[in-house]
Symmetry: C2
Subunit: 338 residues, 2 copies
């Protein structure tokens, strides 16, 4: 018996509060005016980079909750995660609200995973309200995964820049609004890539797998969507995903695919090589820019495919491959939300 992979959420849980916040560099990029809050400097008034990431997490979660009009105790569960060892920014960032907490690790796919789980929980009436949150910070990630910042290591052209940012969505039952219509949980894809400075190549096969299954099972084509929004394949990964889908599945997503990592920085003025990445990239972009585009009627039915590279610095040192994963969330309008 083969499982149906795409889950219809017939009640279409509505995102009743959404917020994306960003750091200094991201705040100078093209989405500057779209974020709910931009920190003036990347220290966020904290003593460590990890604490700065907690501040990102809190700002996103508190802003989203305030917008939802709920009290913290109304929220049944918050799904949260990040890139740092043992996910401490999320746990420490969310610990004081008294909300039941489920910690996730999905690398850069964490926000899509959390959004999918929160939507399932609201749709199936486990809780009336549920939340998703994810964060990353350029400095905590560099320290964690690559070199100490002070070392000034040179990055290869395929490298993406970890976004300092966070995003949060509060979901609930409501007649109108921006809603989650379908979710699909991804399977791990490993095509043997070992280059941990080329996450685009790692995650593209997973993104292509998820997109192909989603489109085939729902009998839809790419042009049925306002946007196929990956997060975050960057330039290399976006090209590879497009190529893979064309060659292996005869699916053409060119013209429909956009990547959170490709739109968060300015290609000319901000040279970040292959684009943005990190849990906070798609989290901050989806919870601000994309949410608003749908709410404002500029687009609809965004197939958000959150992609993650499931590795650690140690697994790479030990010669392991870098497997990828991609979870899909279909976000669109419900009722007369425009």
């Amino acid at each position: 018996m083969k499982n149906k992979r795409v889950n219809d959420l017939s009640s279409m849980p509505v995102i009743i509060g959404a917020a994306g916040v960003a750091g200094q560099t991201e705040g100078k990029g093209p989405l500057s005016e779209r974020f709910d809050y931009v920190f003036a400097d990347d220290g966020m008034g904290e003593n460590t980079w990890e604490s700065a990431e907690k501040a990102l997490c809190r700002k996103a979660f508190e802003t989203a909750t305030a917008k939802s009009g709920l009290a913290y105790e109304d929220i049944g569960i918050v799904f949260g995660g990040d890139l740092v060892n043992q996910c401490t920014p999320s746990a420490f960032g969310l610990k004081d609200y008294g909300i039941p907490f489920a910690g996730l690790f999905g690398a850069c796919s964490t926000f899509a995973l959390g959004l999918a789980l929160a939507a399932v929980f609201v749709d199936r009436k486990i809780f009336r309200f549920a939340a998703a949150e994810a964060s990353s910070h350029f400095c905590s990630a560099e320290k964690q995964f690559r070199m100490p910042l002070e070392y000034g290591g040179q990055r290869p052209p395929t490298a993406q820049r970890t976004v300092s940012g966070a995003g949060a969505c509060i979901l609930g039952q409501k007649e109108n609004g921006v809603c989650v219509k379908k979710v699909m949980f991804g399977r791990i894809c490993d095509r043997g890539v070992t280059d941990a400075t080329n996450f685009g190549a790692v995650m593209a096969p997973a993104a292509a797998d998820t997109a192909a299954v989603f489109l085939q099972e729902t009998k839809t084509s790419p042009t049925d969507y306002g946007m196929i929004l990956t997060g975050d394949l960057g330039k290399v990964g976006s090209e590879l995903m497009t190529q893979l889908l064309l060659e292996e599945n005869k699916i053409d997503i060119s013209g429909v695919q956009t990547d959170c990592g490709n739109i968060i920085y300015d290609d000319v003025c901000q040279d970040v090589h292959c684009g943005g990445s990190g849990c906070g990239c798609s989290a901050s972009v989806v919870a601000s820019h994309i949410y608003r585009k749908i709410a404002d009627g500029e687009t609809d039915n965004v197939l958000f495919i959150g992609t993650g590279a499931l590795m650690s610095p140690l697994s790479s040192l030990q010669g392991d491959t870098v497997p990828g994963i991609a979870h899909a969330v279909l976000i669109g309008r419900k009722g007369n939300c425009v």
Copy 2:
């Protein structure tokens, strides 16, 4: 509006396959005969401790799936996690089955969290079958959280030993069997403890909070349960939890409470100080020993409270507290499973 914290799973999803596997030391303990498989040495035939943990993960998952009679493609989703940075043992261990994967981080509470999520997914018909898996390995954890093994660091009397072990449960709809009746997701409790060698003290307040809310909301008393099974508070934490519930909630759990970390090692012959810990402790004990006790009619209605310490070595070095969390899963008999 205050949320109901305890979720009734009216269809009572049945654990149709369960397996707990263990390492060499655990295999010499009192539960030796209860595990589904005991590895002859802690290298598990692998080159690194992290790969050894992957082997634990795979053995538990494959054995549980075989017992369930399912093919891998029948399983809609697997919730998995561990203690290692970026949860690589779970991702690498589970990557080749082609099953949609949701990575969790809940420290030692991971198995309870995964079991609760898998049960919710089956109860609410997201998938017909869902799985939970969690692992830990003494050597990968020592290396990750404390000292290199070769250093031979002395452990304080309050320290617990990370279990080399893994557990997996496959859940599905069935008329008879050992089932999940209720779940409750925990909130983070932080009473300011900073001693990362005393996880019992860290997690006891979270365990007490979850137990108190569960008992109060379900209007039940400790003696209504065959067992209040914590995992893993060890000796210090078990005493503290009992004391906290008595002093703050007038609830007496003495005589009813058992801790996975207290029963996995022999107190006299195996001096592991305060007991066992690690995601693999409660995972291996619940999926073998406890599952069998319920299936064999020796006990019923086990209130399993999985406890976790949400910290990293870095957060402790930076002077942060160690917050705790505890998720509850009520496991009991359904129909004539004896």
